[in-house]
Symmetry: C2
Subunit: 626 residues, 2 copies
């Protein structure tokens, strides 16, 4: 996604003409449709998507992460949120109307369709890229106005997209016990015991990270996410894996999956082409006896979900794989710790380097991010970044989802705050860390707000809470100090983090918005990242990845047991930004103890790697505060 493509509008006259033709073409649909919906996303409801799935970008030009395009016979409109108003208006030509979500006057997709469609219209959508609940809402709203929503099996964008990239089919990486702690056979057995417990005969896995986790395999089909395109259908005696068959021709993969020499019949994997999941699921469903139930995520595609007859369908908000994956085992925890040590080494080196280079005026947001990536890539088992680095100077820091582009690229200086939110994938773990630094003299106000954010970070990190507590109940702890001064931040406080998997994963998190989260459990890993953003001036965020661990407070009410967090991220928090007067003694002790750990653990590794300058920097930055 280069800057040229990003910032000049895409000419869409011809594409829209072709799409409208397809909307009337009986090759694809029995009757012409009057509107076609193009959501973001892929058939697995992935957060990040592969180039072949960027259909909304293809049709309208807008390449932000969130947006839905709708084309009717006469109109073309695209809905996105406040983060993207400017970008979308620059990337779309005037065949398109930008629908600014969140503004009062902006119609919803349903209301807009109802306002522009002729009576008794038919609206089409690809059932593979719309989730069941979205389908239901849209279908209901349209039906209420006399229209109907229909599934168009052939994707009409794909039909007109001549140079559409092929679906990636990257090399599969097998992970041994030393990284996973459990064989895929163990995981399969655990899954089946959950199924037996709830009298479930079949489970359909559709989320790519769940499939990767289940089979102890990784791929690189999607940037930043070490996953591969696949589906799985698991019965009590059957395992079907749907994946590009060519990928299985590799001996290590064949052996890992025991494709040629399965030990037991029920652990024998039947492989089939990725595309055959639909017909295979139909076959499974045709053989169901009354009362047999099939588990599928309520976020799975409409297409697959509707294959399962309603009487047999059991929709679940979080699959047993999602829940099992969230609680890391000892090996995974050890791996995550190792990954965070390596990551901290790279960041210490980066910050030492920045300290030296910034005064020369040659470091920019982009070059600093590149340097961070370079330093990370020197670490063992580095695979790639875990998300696009948010490297932001001064006012750019106030744009929460900022990503530096050549035309916005600012130079790091001694006068402005620098915020770096970045992370990497290593074979042993995934990292995600934000540090906010000032390389000159921060103002009293910058220090004051930084310190409130730090207080919030500590309040969550040091919180002790009963077993069974949901993460959203901790969100206000992160805001208390800011609220007391009339300040706040408009994002959640934390998200689940995968182990050499997606940097954002469910089912846990820390947010005022999430009430469907599952309770925190020892072994879960989340981020703790309160912030403060002053529009046009600066952004502050302090983010550690933290591990949920048992706590041993004085009492133990009803033998419930307590939990707390242990920071996995071990990168100094800049003391220069702290107004120590605003901290309590307990908070100062927390900072000093945290820095002692950073010095001890990261210092030893810097020593071992012979990174002298970074070690000096670390030692300076971890002096106790008074």
């Amino acid at each position: 996604m280069g800057s040229d493509a990003a910032m000049s509008p895409k000419i869409t006259v011809e594409l829209l003409r072709q799409l409208r033709q397809a909307m009337r073409n009986t090759k694809y649909i029995a009757e012409p449709i009057q509107a076609y919906i193009v959501p973001s996303g892929d058939a697995h409801q992935s957060e990040y998507i592969a180039p072949c799935d960027c259909r909304r970008e293809f049709i309208c030009g807008f390449n932000g992460s969130a947006g839905t395009a709708i084309v009717t016979e006469k109109h073309a409109a695209m809905w996105t949120d406040g983060r993207y108003f400017l970008q979308a208006s620059q990337q779309m030509d005037n065949n398109w109307t930008l629908m600014k979500m969140g503004l009062k006057e902006t119609l919803s997709q349903e209301d807009w369709l109802i306002s522009v469609l002729p009576e008794n219209s038919t609206v089409g959508v690809d059932p593979w890229i719309i989730a069941t609940d979205q389908w239901k809402n849209m279908s209901k709203a349209l039906a209420g106005a006399g229209h109907s929503l229909v599934a168009v099996q052939d994707n009409l964008i794909d039909a007109i997209w001549m140079d559409r990239p092929t679906r990636p089919s990257t090399k599969l990486l097998t992970l041994g016990l030393g990284f996973t702690g459990l064989t895929w056979q163990d995981k399969m057995t655990a899954l089946r015991s959950k199924m037996a417990e709830r009298k479930i005969s079949w489970f359909v896995a559709t989320a790519l990270d769940e499939i990767a986790w289940l089979f102890n395999l990784r791929g690189s089909d999607i940037e930043y996410n070490p996953v591969f395109f696949a589906y799985a259908i698991v019965g009590m005696n059957t395992i079907r894996l749907f994946v590009d068959i060519k990928r299985l021709a590799v001996p290590t993969v064949r052996e890992h999956l025991q494709l040629d020499t399965p030990s037991k019949a029920e652990l024998s994997i039947q492989t089939a082409p990725y595309e055959s999941v639909f017909t295979e699921l139909q076959a499974v469903c045709a053989s169901l006896v009354p009362k047999e139930k099939v588990w599928i995520s309520d976020k799975a595609s409409c297409a697959l979900t509707q294959v399962i007859p309603k009487a047999h369908r059991s929709l679940i908000p979080y699959t047993p794989l999602c829940l099992a994956k969230a609680v890391k085992n000892t090996t995974e925890i050890q791996g995550m710790k190792m990954a965070h040590i390596k990551d901290a080494v790279a960041l210490c080196e980066l910050f030492a380097w920045l300290e030296k280079e910034i005064p020369k005026g040659t470091v920019t947001e982009i070059s600093a991010a590149d340097k961070a990536e370079e330093l990370r890539s020197q670490q063992k088992d580095f695979v790639g970044l875990s998300f696009p680095s948010i490297s932001s100077v001064g006012p750019n820091g106030a744009i929460i989802h900022y990503r530096p582009l050549p035309e916005t690229n600012r130079t790091l200086s001694l006068n402005e705050i620098y915020l770096l939110d970045s992370g990497a994938q290593y074979i042993d773990g995934t990292t995600d860390v934000t540090r906010t630094m000032h390389f000159g003299s921060p103002s009293a106000y910058e220090k004051e707000t930084f310190t409130y954010v730090l207080k919030g970070h500590i309040a969550v990190s040091a919180a002790i809470f009963p077993n069974g507590t949901k993460g959203h109940l901790l969100d206000s702890f992160a805001r208390q100090a800011l609220w007391e001064s009339g300040l706040d931040y408009l994002h959640g406080t934390g998200h689940g983090v995968g182990c050499f998997l997606n940097v954002h994963e469910g089912p846990c998190g820390i947010s005022y918005k999430t009430f469907a989260d599952e309770p925190l459990e020892a072994g879960m890993i989340v981020s703790d990242e309160p912030g403060y953003y002053e529009d046009g001036l600066f952004g502050i965020r302090i983010e550690n990845v933290v591990l949920v661990v048992p706590a041993k407070p004085k009492y133990n009410y009803r033998n419930k047991g307590s939990l707390t967090f242990e920071p996995l991220t071990l990168v100094p928090i800049q003391a220069k930004m702290v107004n120590t007067d605003i901290l309590t003694q307990k908070e100062r002790d927390w900072v000093n103890e945290y820095h002692r750990q950073c010095r001890e653990t990261i210092g030893a590794e810097l020593e071992r790697q012979g990174r002298k300058e970074a070690l000096d920097w670390l030692i300076r930055e971890t002096q106790p505060i008074a």
Copy 2:
């Protein structure tokens, strides 16, 4: 509900025989039904119900506040929760099976019905006392197993209940502007402007407190709740009030409602008998033109809700009356303050009296509660209690919903903690206060846990938070100190409080359980009542009613503005129970400032009322803590 009735089982052989006969009687149903559901509750989904609505108690003998009875041709079962297992087992004879909710092995009502019913059975229920969402769930579950749920218009319990009390029709009390701050005409106009805003033609009011609030009328049909049985249907030019017509024969009521001389046509009230709401709503619905919408609460009865054709029905979680009622106007706030001053006078006198009387060994939970009621009744405009007093000594304090009965009645002593949770209805306001006291020497552990609860109480009461914050986001503040020591309490932290209305009201509150709450707004009134309960030993709860008020912190992020709480309850918190070492300086300051206010405001009123002993007690109990 005397103690005899409460604790010996009701003989139900004959009643069950009659009910089963009615279940086959074509006088009531076209075809026999195989099961009949008897929920708790009335046609208005009231929390407290009138004797004529205690149908579940009538059929099975169990008189607790929560429980559902189901009778089939062969079985009779009653579901209730852990609070009531003992009581229910004592009150029901062996024709009944007690279904202990919350235990793993206990079947749900649906599953139990499916397990005992013959194929293709019909299950009946009175559609007036089941809410729409409950109906839907039950209906769906039964349909899935080949059965069906049907509405039985005549209540079959009423059919066999020979000495059923008549529906109360108490004297209506009209409230003038001095108490309400707004005329009912103003409220009607405001309601209609909300309706116009959302293009709603009709609104059906079913909640008794909303109707009482709308018309500035009160009744005493239900104990503790100053409400009266009624419905209202409001259109843009029509007001229909459904109430026992005899109640309107009083000149003051006629004048208040302007029944004889309406000022404007659209403010003219058409009155009709309570029972005629069904046919009148049918008539309204018959006249609807396409796209016209009717608002009704999603908690309204199935019977009324289903009168409104689906295309016209707009279900809302909180009605505009519920929302408007929650934000108290200046007059109501003033009234609530007055009520709390009077209430504090009574409690200061009570505690001074207890201090003197307890050493004699003659005060019991029941006599203390009676004394509190007597002292409250001496205050101006006292109407009655706002809920049954929870007056509990030692281990009884650990039973959260305890209500003293002769067989559980404990004597107050110098050795055990006394917890009193009580409140009253005054014409100017409703109170609800809990104080936990020790009249001898509390143990270090009692003081420690009391102090944690106090820290939680203060954390909520002194919290500053942005406008738009929902109350449930404050719940964890109340638990933080307890959690740090491994302790917790298993109830919410606060509920909305009506103004001379129900002591529990929506749509706001402070609870880890409630996510459907509406944001807190200046003028809302809630309780702040964290606690700690040590089974078999003691209970601690510190409860104030607090008013949401604007706060003015240092900054004002995005001009959102901030809020905080002002305590309305002004009764000293026993300093003897506090371990001041565990308090921060800020918390000690809060206690001292709170006690200064108690002394100033309540002291002046005690002085005025010449209650010398209580004044001395107040002055002693409000000495600053160090």
